[in-house]
């Protein structure tokens, strides 16, 4: 605009007396007045042009400021991984997360009349985690499923390098494989029997990290030390437990068939004293084994757990075995025979004599559990222990149905025979020596993180009941099997 106006004024000025055919050095008053007016108009126009340019530049700067302010503004983001509030530079973030898992389980036969058929919120969790700058992360998580609040996790991570991080607080101990699977991603009503061994969560500190493009992950830590399946917030003695776990993807990058093969081993050891040993439950929640009332944990205990997992496209397989060996103190000096028809031999058993309490037996007793599972996402999505991401998330208006996955698993748990035969640590008339659970489930993944599942699991017991409780001679029999049908709806964010 400025250039065109200047051109016009230039032409007008050029068309004045100077360019006339007959030179006239003294312009007429009218011409002089016109020239003065044109000069003044040019100056005024240039000034206006500057003002317009200034206004345009100020507006441009305002837009840049607004864009910069938007960049610097705190961001609120909601997606399948939770509700995030992040600083503009993403160095600071807090994420709100939750899980609701609700379902119903019925024992189709219930010959033992022990199973309570009920609807139940198996998991209700709410918590948040976050990032504090480049080196710190934290998590606080609570469980509400029992109708009261229980602390699940509360820890701080300090990241020194990808291969070296420290975690301090309450969190999952690095031991049993399936404990690392979120409740919202379980393929069955509950975790399999190996989860009965080892604490659920404990308070302590661990170093952990990953090397070689995550091919090798490790965790080593020291914790208060808790009983099997415990979820404690403090310790009962001065002794501590040591834990270590290594997880490898040994063939990652070799071939697509073995990229998803993971192999791991975990172990822990510690000295435990003066606490009640834990009993064990089947996946329906029914207790099938308990120690006698006078039994106490007293001495060295250790656990070890080889574990493996394989994913290939829509297929997932995993298996694990875990054994716990713990020195248990029997409070009464009785070497009792077991029920009729069962072994009462003491052969091969090494008794340990407690020097301060005469007549008290200490015995190393083992409990082992295992599971093997197979799963197939029949709609073709990639299988993953952390849940399936449906290619076509459920949407009734478009007809998309999500993803379907069928799964089967078998799981067992055995208690040391010595617990029943030597010094009578357990009573086989009420506690089973071993259980075997097997079943199948269909998981319908509506969207990532939300699913419906229906399944059936049967559990067979070895011992655990009497042929005739009122008879003078106690004859042990196997407890009746459980046949659990379950339906679960779960969602997580």
């Amino acid at each position: 605009m400025s250039a065109s106006l200047s051109l016009v004024f230039g032409l007008l000025l050029a068309a004045g007396p100077d360019s006339a055919a007959v030179p006239n050095p003294v312009p007429s008053p009218e011409v002089a007045s016109l020239r003065a007016w044109l000069e003044a108009s040019k100056t005024q126009t240039e000034a206006l042009d500057q003002k317009i340019k200034v206004l345009e530049r100020l507006h441009e700067n305002d837009l840049e400021d607004a864009a910069a302010a938007a960049k610097a503004a705190v961001r609120l983001q909601a997606n399948a991984s939770g509700l995030w509030i992040r600083s503009a530079d993403t160095a600071y973030a807090i994420r709100f997360r939750g899980i609701v898992r609700s379902g119903a389980a019925w024992d189709l036969v219930d010959e033992n009349d022990k199973t309570l058929d009920q609807f139940q919120n198996t998991t209700v969790r709410f918590g948040f985690d976050g990032i504090l700058g480049k080196a710190l992360e934290f998590k606080i998580n609570s469980d509400w499923s029992k109708g009261s609040v229980a602390l699940q996790d509360a820890y701080l991570d300090i990241k020194y390098a990808p291969g070296l991080k420290a975690r301090i607080g309450k969190f999952q101990v690095p031991l049993e494989w399936e404990r690392f699977v979120s409740p919202s991603d379980l393929l069955f009503y509950d975790r399999a029997l190996p989860a009965q061994i080892g604490p659920n969560r404990d308070v302590g500190a661990q170093l952990f990290g990953a090397f070689a493009s995550d091919r090798v992950q490790y965790a080593v830590g020291v914790f208060n030390g808790g009983a099997d399946a415990s979820n404690l917030n403090n310790d009962a003695n001065d002794d501590k437990d040591l834990y270590g776990r290594i997880w490898t993807l040994p063939l990652k990058g070799v071939s697509e068939y073995v990229d998803g093969l993971g192999i791991g081993f975990a172990a822990n050891a510690g000295f435990h004293a003066n606490s009640t040993p834990s009993g064990y439950k089947v996946t329906s929640g029914n207790s099938f084994f308990s120690w006698k009332a006078a039994d106490t944990v007293d001495g060295i205990g250790y656990r070890f757990a080889p574990q493996a997992q394989w994913t290939f496209g829509p297929f997932l397989a995993y298996g694990e075995w875990i054994q716990s060996v713990q020195e248990i103190k029997r409070g009464i000096t009785v070497v009792a025979t077991d029920s009729i028809g069962k072994s009462s031999t003491n052969k091969g058993v090494v008794y340990r004599y407690n020097k301060t309490t005469l007549g008290v037996f200490n015995q190393d007793l083992s409990v082992s559990a295992w599971q093997a599972a197979l799963s197939w996402v029949i709609t073709g999505e990639d299988a993953n222990v952390a849940g399936v991401s449906p290619r076509h998330p459920f949407n009734p208006t478009t007809g998309d149905v999500g993803a379907f996955e069928i799964s089967a698993r078998v799981s067992g748990l055995s208690v040391d025979d010595k617990a029943f035969t030597n010094a009578n640590f357990a009573d086989s008339t009420v506690s089973a020596r071993s259980v075997l659970t097997y079943g199948a489930a269909l998981n319908w993944h509506l969207i990532k993180g939300s699913r419906l599942q229906i399944g059936f699991e049967r559990t067979d017991f070895n011992d655990g009941a009497l042929v005739d409780p009122s008879a003078a001679i106690k004859v042990v029999r196997d407890r009746k099997s459980e046949n659990q049908l379950f339906v679960v709806a779960s969602t997580s964010f």
Binding site: Q50, V54, N61, E64, P162
Partner: protein
């Protein structure tokens, strides 16, 4: 103690596991982009030839104060090369990432080059601007960025103040009055030096741009000699943009050796030659003599001489409620 040693060993092992070539981050101010592109390339070649190691220097540029805040907030700078010593002082004071006496660790108060403030005017200098007092003549429109956000603008402001102070009968009161009038001639306060250059050069606003000498030469070079002229006032300020090693960050990243070499390299004749070619005034006497005719002679005063150093100048003039705020406060 043992635990610390174990952690260090594990840390080194972890670092080694993911180590590749050495990577440095140079966090700098707005107009140095071109300078450090040239310096970084030359240094990487030299370092490779001397040590066999590959080094890559990444650059981050922005307003000097903003860059300092980014480092304080966690930007992993191995090196900072900012417009003002005050901004590096802030990093030392608030984040404790380098020692308080950082400026004494390298020659010339850690400033490997200097610059000054000159005037960039329209071709032919139609408003006849020759000295600072010409800037407040009626009808003269001045472009300078906002001293609250721009390091370069603070140099401009203090250059104007220093000139007024040195006039016969000059005092803080006359200097304040002059600078107040000067800012009444500023139609747009851009946030940074590059923004102000854009306002003047690209948007065609204003009659004169108060600019870093290097920025003025660069603009003339890029626009061509038929668009703008450089006017060097008889008196201006000696701008000393400092450089520093961010020791704690560099030590954590394991880049100390390369970062120190980089900073020392800036004082070598080779680097000083590059500095001069990018229109910054070199410190090296021989290189300065070689380019003596290129850089005009003018009377230069320093921040220490007239303002008692950057900390005092910052507090007096640019902090909230300071003289600059009083000057630009809209009339009631």
């Amino acid at each position: 103690m043992k635990t610390r040693h174990i952690l260090s060993i594990l840390g080194i092992a972890a670092s080694l596991a993911s180590a590749s070539k050495i990577q440095l981050l140079n966090v700098s101010y707005d107009p140095t982009r071109e300078l450090y592109v040239d310096l970084n390339k030359a240094f990487a070649e030299l370092y490779k030839s001397k040590t066999g190691d590959d080094v890559e220097i990444k650059q981050s540029h922005g307003g000097s104060g903003k860059q300092a805040r980014a480092v304080i907030d966690g930007l992993d700078a191995d090196i900072v090369t900012l417009a003002l010593a005050y901004d590096i002082d802030a990093i030392a004071e608030k984040a404790k990432l380098l020692p308080a006496g950082w400026q004494k660790t390298l020659p010339h108060n850690s400033t490997p080059y200097t610059s000054t403030i000159v005037f960039l005017v329209r071709k032919g200098n139609p408003k006849g601007i020759k000295d600072w007092n010409d800037l407040i003549k009626p009808g003269v429109s001045v472009i300078t960025p906002n001293p609250k956000t721009s390091g370069g603008a603070r140099w401009n402001y203090l250059a104007a103040w220093g000139w007024a102070l040195q006039q016969p009968g000059g005092s803080d009161a006359t200097a304040k009055e002059f600078v107040k009038k000067l800012f009444q001639h500023v139609p747009v306060l851009d946030a940074g030096a590059r923004g102000a250059t854009t306002t003047f050069v690209q948007r065609g606003i204003g009659d004169v741009l108060l600019a870093w000498e290097n920025e003025a030469f660069l603009s003339k070079k890029e626009l061509g000699p038929d668009k703008v002229d450089i006017v060097v006032p008889p008196t201006s300020i000696l701008a000393e943009p400092p450089v520093a090693l961010v020791e704690k960050v560099s030590a954590r990243k394991g880049t100390l050796k390369a970062a120190k070499s980089y900073l020392n390299y800036l004082y070598t004749p080779e680097a000083q030659e590059i500095i001069a070619k990018n229109f910054y005034r070199p410190r090296d006497a021989a290189v300065a003599a070689k380019y003596a005719t290129f850089f005009p002679n003018l009377k230069l005063f320093t921040i220490d001489q007239l303002f008692g150093g950057w900390t005092k100048a910052q507090k007096t003039h640019f902090e909230d409620g300071g003289i600059f705020d009083q000057i630009i406060k809209p009339a009631n």
